[in-house]
């Protein structure tokens, strides 16, 4: 088990920065998810940690050892990290047992000991008795388990997952998620888990690093990411947050302040020390919106009603600001129809900290 720290890591390819000035500290035994849209640099980040790519600047440490930095780069085969690859990367010319036992063979471990370890690893992923099969004769879920067992058997200090569930169907995903979680609980290994799936990241991780355009957008617990996004990107990326222009009217008091959004005044949550300012943004979740025919709020037009079974997703355009689209759920019986006028109320929200504000 080991800590992983990245200090101001930058990776540039010919003329663009895939990873820009990223600093992350992963605690011993922590489960960190790296989340972001495709092309955000998360896979490059994983390859930097594994040692397949060399950093352009900055430093990566595993435990107390600098593995990538100015002085050079420790080869991947000497880093003692385990990787579960997206497409499993099982060697087709070896049996399941040979796949799993490969790192032991490379380390020239005693054969009998190695065999027992392979058996244990197989048992750990519930694949007893399949050791003599070829990877080609396994189902997708079984292959994923073999890949997991292969990475466990060497007892790596750090395990990297590269979108391990991307190739599995929905049902398998759920059960593999459970398996990863219980694996983490059991072994206490430090894990870095790359994914583009928020639900997966939220379900598994202690903390989530959201990446955007090569930069670290926010590093926080799942709850904090949802409730207190640090910037507009995270706010809109996580659970489709709605961003609304706002003016801050009062200074922060016990974590709240008064703002004006779309002509209506309301109280939102905020960081300590917020002061009145204009041009701010408030992040609302669809659950924060409801229809209030004659209370305080703002008027607008129902643009679209998408029935989703049991409830409908309503897309709404406020009349004061027709460029904005708000969306919320309305449970059955759905009363609104597209083209209808309605009045909405925002119950709560989160004031996005001003850009450049310390986090």
């Amino acid at each position: 088990m080991a800590r992983l720290s990245l200090d101001n890591v930058t990776k540039s390819f010919a003329n663009f920065d895939a990873v820009k000035d990223v600093s992350i500290d992963v605690g011993d035994g922590e489960f960190l998810a790296v989340l972001g849209p495709s092309g955000c640099g998360k896979t490059t980040l994983l390859r930097l940690v594994a040692g397949f790519e060399k950093v352009t600047s900055g430093e990566i440490r595993i435990g107390s050892e600098v593995v990538s930095g100015k002085g050079g780069s420790v080869a991947p085969e000497k880093r003692r990290v385990g990787i579960v690859f997206q497409n499993y990367a099982l060697w087709p010319h070896m049996t399941v047992a040979e796949n799993i036992g490969y790192s032991l063979k490379v380390a020239k471990l005693d054969k009998a000991v190695a065999r027992r370890k392979v058996e244990d690893a197989l048992a750990l992923v519930n694949l007893q008795g399949l050791g003599e099969r070829r990877p080609a004769n396994l189902s997708g879920g079984q292959r994923q388990r073999v890949a997991l067992a292969r990475c466990l058997v060497a007892a790596p200090s750090l395990v990297l997952f590269d979108e391990p569930l991307a190739n599995l169907d929905v049902h398998l995903r759920a059960s593999m998620e459970d398996e990863f979680a219980s694996f983490h609980k059991r072994t206490g290994t430090t894990i870095v888990y790359i994914t583009h799936d928020q639900a997966e990241a939220m379900a598994l991780a202690d903390r989530i690093a959201v990446m955007d355009g090569g930069r670290l957008a926010q590093l926080a617990t799942p709850r904090e990411l949802y409730h207190e996004p640090a910037n507009e990107m995270v706010a809109s990326f996580i659970s489709q947050g709605i961003l609304l222009p706002a003016d801050v009217l009062s200074a922060e008091e016990r974590g709240h302040c008064k703002v004006r959004v779309l002509g209506a005044e309301l109280i939102v949550r905020c960081r300590p020390g917020e002061r009145p300012r204009t041009g701010a943004k408030v992040c609302c979740r669809s659950a924060d919106l409801d229809v209030s025919p004659d209370g305080p709020g703002f008027d607008g037009l129902v643009k679209r009603v998408i029935y989703q079974g049991g409830s409908a997703r309503i897309e709404f355009t406020p009349s004061t600001n027709p460029d904005l689209t708000l969306h919320f759920e309305q449970p059955d019986p759905v009363a609104l129809e597209s083209g209808a006028q309605a009045r909405l109320r925002i119950r709560s929200g989160w004031l996005i900290p001003a850009a450049g504000a310390a986090s």
Partner: protein, 567 residues
């Protein structure tokens, strides 16, 4: 930290250095040596060698002949190869795989065997014509001993080469482009002329360039057909000069071989320029177009195709077998005269011939084995390497094969005429100089399939082994080699088949005791013993066919396109 960091790159550096040395030895060194001989014969810069070469009328005549048969053979190959490719790929012709196999077969047969087979078919002694009593009277000149004969056989030999490239291009043609034209009201023939063939220009040009280089560098066909008619092309001129003058005329032949190299390169350059003139890029990829229904023309097209195959493949081989069974020149083949004596003679009685079988077999095996061994690490660096300069390696490995074989043969002679410095080892006049030339020339045949094998393998398989703690050499042995082995071994088998009856290189490098099958076959034919030459040819063709069958067993594990005869 620093030691762990330094350790990491060690094996990769060793590998890169080893590969660089092998390639320098096999490819760069001979080419540099050849150029040195031209610009600085004897060590000082001078234009003497060039001037002497340019002043000789023989040079100009042979150059003219080379261009005539090169361009003629290319045209014939492009016309026939493209036509067959269009018919086989775009129409609903039947028995496609069998047709491809039969049509491509001549490519797997050595040119001098093709030449011999055709000569036996049409000559006055032809056992085949004698079967119908249609043979011309003895003493009549064989009609193939002529310019048009050489062009015809070059076209037959390299038509399949064009076919393979054009077919590969046609298969990538997206059906939307064809369908859009048909929806626009164009008939099938209009589509072919206005859409398909223009889009195929790059493929056809590339095929033409390759066919041209092959025609210009071909030795077997002009040697068998041209020398008796005293119609010399550059490769045969070099052969005659060396055979008559020995090492003394090496400088002169070096000039001639560079001349061939220049002509070949000019062909490739022309192709480059021609295919850059317009944008032929096909952006979308999709399913191939529905085959065109030949309808009532189908029987006629079928008949035409099979007739072509009978003419280019079946009849010549049949003629070859008949000749190998005849006891002597001009004797008609009957149940009574048929004999296996020719086989017995070449296999067991004739010293040089049996030695040649032995030599050629082990030379081919050694070349194939070595090439497979070297192709795996070279392919690794080229396909997966990060350094950009490594890609230049690819070019240097291609060079000895892209240039006509004569060029490499002369370069090898120049390099090894004197004992190797420091060691005093003498390769000249031994079988080892042939092995060296084979390694240099054929390495690329194993490298190409190996590289396409690498491109098919998920790199993560290697990375997984890397994070498992395996160093580069361990990964090579346990992961990479097993995964690319089918492709590399298929390449090795291609080398074996090509080297077994190779003539161009060994004709210039052989010495007494180091004869190859091609060389002995050639000398039998020159001495008028066509029956023995035919028997040797039949044996090599049979071995080649057998190996093709064996190689087919590998086919399921190979990237498409590695085995040329597989559809």
């Amino acid at each position: 930290m620093s030691t762990r960091i330094r350790e990491s790159r060690g094996q990769e550096m060793v590998l890169t250095a080893a590969v660089a040395i092998v390639i320098a030895l096999l490819s760069l060194l001979p080419m540099l040596r050849l150029i040195k001989e031209i610009v600085a014969p004897g060590g000082t810069l001078s234009t003497v060698a060039i001037k002497a070469g340019l002043a000789s009328p023989a040079t100009w005549i042979a150059t003219w002949h080379t261009l005539v048969v090169g361009i003629g053979g290319t045209l014939l190959a492009v016309l026939s190869g493209t036509l067959v490719a269009v018919l086989v790929t775009l129409t609903d012709i039947r028995a496609r795989s069998a047709m491809v196999l039969c049509y491509v077969m001549p490519l797997m047969i050595a040119p001098q065997v093709t030449a011999l087979a055709w000569l036996q078919l049409f000559g006055p002694a032809s056992p085949f014509l004698k079967l119908f009593g249609a043979a011309p009277p003895l003493g009549t000149r064989n009609p193939l001993y002529s310019t048009s004969g050489i062009i015809l056989l070059l076209g037959v030999q390299y038509g399949p080469l064009v076919f393979l490239l054009v077919r590969a291009g046609l298969r990538k043609l997206p059906r939307e482009l064809v369908e859009a034209a048909r929806a626009g009201g164009a008939g099938w023939f209009t589509v072919l002329v206005t859409i398909v063939l223009p889009l195929m220009t790059p493929s056809i040009m590339a095929a033409a360039a390759l066919a041209f280089v092959s025609c210009v560098g071909n030795f077997g066909i002009p040697a068998f057909l041209g020398i008796p008619a005293n119609y010399l092309v550059l490769p045969t001129l070099i052969y005659q000069k060396l055979a008559g003058g020995g090492p003394a005329v090496l400088g002169e032949t070096a000039f001639l071989s560079v001349l061939i190299g220049i002509i070949a390169m000019a062909g490739i350059l022309t192709q480059e320029i021609m295919s850059r003139r317009r944008d032929y890029r096909i952006s979308s990829t999709s399913l191939p177009a529905e085959p065109y229904e030949l309808g009532r023309w189908r029987p006629a097209v079928h008949a035409g195709m099979w007739l072509l195959i009978i003419v280019v493949l079946v009849l010549p081989l049949f003629g070859l077998v008949l000749t190998s069974l005849v006891p002597g020149y001009g004797i008609a083949l009957t149940a009574k005269t048929a004999t296996l004596d020719n086989y017995r003679f070449v296999l067991f009685e004739h010293d040089a011939a049996s030695r040649a079988f032995f030599n050629s077999f082990w030379l081919s095996i050694a070349a194939a084995f070595f090439a497979v061994l070297v192709a795996v690490p070279i392919g690794y660096l080229i396909a997966w390497g990060k350094q950009r300069w490594v890609r230049l390696l690819n070019l240097s490995v291609e060079l000895p094969y892209a240039l006509p074989g004569v060029v490499l043969a002369i370069a090898s002679l120049l390099m090894f005429l004197r004992p190797i410095p420091l060691t005093g080892i003498q390769l000249y006049n031994t079988v080892w100089i042939i092995l060296y030339a084979y390694l240099a020339r054929f390495l690329v045949l194993a490298l190409r399939p190996t590289i396409s094998g690498y491109h098919q393998i998920d790199r993560a398989l290697e990375e997984a082994a890397q994070v498992a703690g395996a160093g580069l050499f361990t990964r090579m042995r346990t992961i990479i080699f097993p995964l690319v082995a089918p492709a590399a071994i298929a390449g090795g088998l291609l080398i074996f088949m090509t080297a077994l009856s190779e003539l161009t290189v060994s004709a210039l490098l052989w010495s007494s005791g180091s004869e190859t099958i091609g060389v002995v076959m050639f000398s039998f034919e020159q001495g008028g013993d066509s029956n023995y030459a035919a028997a040797m040819s039949v044996i090599t063709v049979a071995v080649t066919f057998l190996l093709m069958l064996v190689t087919n067993l590998l086919a399921p594990y190979l990237p498409t396109g590695v085995l040329p005869w597989r559809d």
